[in-house]
């Protein structure tokens, strides 16, 4: 499954709810204000673990718009909208955490 998170973890706990329920094969895509969690200093240990496994993505345009490009953790993969579409296609059901 693909889980999208569109809220900063400073605003809501949707990322934590997602991390608490995600299974071993699913991936997370951070979009909109959700990309704030991709910054090094905002990163939770659970998210870092998933990122180490290559299972965390962030939408490049939203990262750039928030000025945190230089802070994104190295193992979080940046994708454009075409990459977003590919993730939806590859990972089956898409769940939106809002």
């Amino acid at each position: 499954m693909l889980h999208t998170v569109n809220k900063s973890s400073f605003e809501r706990n949707s990322l934590q709810s997602c991390l608490n329920t995600i299974d071993d094969t699913s991936v997370i895509l951070l979009i909109e204000d959700g990309v704030i969690s991709a910054a090094n200093n905002a990163n939770s240990s659970m998210l870092s673990d998933l990122a180490t496994q290559g299972r965390v993505y962030a939408l490049q345009g939203d990262v750039d718009a928030r000025g945190i490009s230089s802070k994104v953790a190295d193992n979080i993969k940046l994708v454009d909208y075409a990459g977003f579409v590919d993730l939806v296609v590859e990972h089956g059901t898409a769940v939106s955490w809002v």
Binding site: N6, D62, Y81, A82, F84, V85, A94, S96
Partner: protein, 133 residues
């Protein structure tokens, strides 16, 4: 692949409609089919034909309308939830007549219908992607 979209937030107040539009365009560019876009909750405000943003700003309503109009197949179908629309003062001609009020504001590229259209989109599409709060 056949993909449908649900949008729960209005234009210019939340990023949902912009993200969904850029996603839809990328999907179409990659050769996928966007079968239906369902506008729910405040998302119905994306269908107002009276939306007049400044000239140097994107016109969210027209962007969606053009996706539909430019495609001879009539897809993506732009469907507005009837219950969400009526309680927010979003009416097409038929609903305006039915309710005895003058004027209507649903853009002609959009159509009003029920929640069944969302369920059907979920069944008929390979993927349903939700944007908004």
């Amino acid at each position: 692949m056949k993909i449908s979209i649900q949008i729960n937030e209005g234009p210019y107040q939340h990023q949902a409609s912009d993200t969904a539009y850029l996603f839809a365009k990328a999907a179409i560019d990659a050769g996928h089919e966007i079968f239906r876009v369902f506008f729910y909750h405040d998302g119905v405000n994306n269908a107002s034909r009276f939306t007049m943003p400044p000239q140097d700003d994107r016109n969210v309503v027209n962007q969606w309308a053009e996706l539909n109009i430019k495609n001879a197949s009539g897809e993506p179908e732009l469907v507005v939830c009837i219950a969400a629309a009526l309680r927010r003062g979003m009416l097409d001609e038929s609903e305006a007549n039915k309710n005895g009020v003058e004027g209507n504001n649903i853009h002609p590229a959009f159509r009003i219908s029920g929640l069944g259209q969302l369920i059907e989109a979920g069944i008929q599409s390979d993927r349903l992607v939700v944007f908004g709060d």
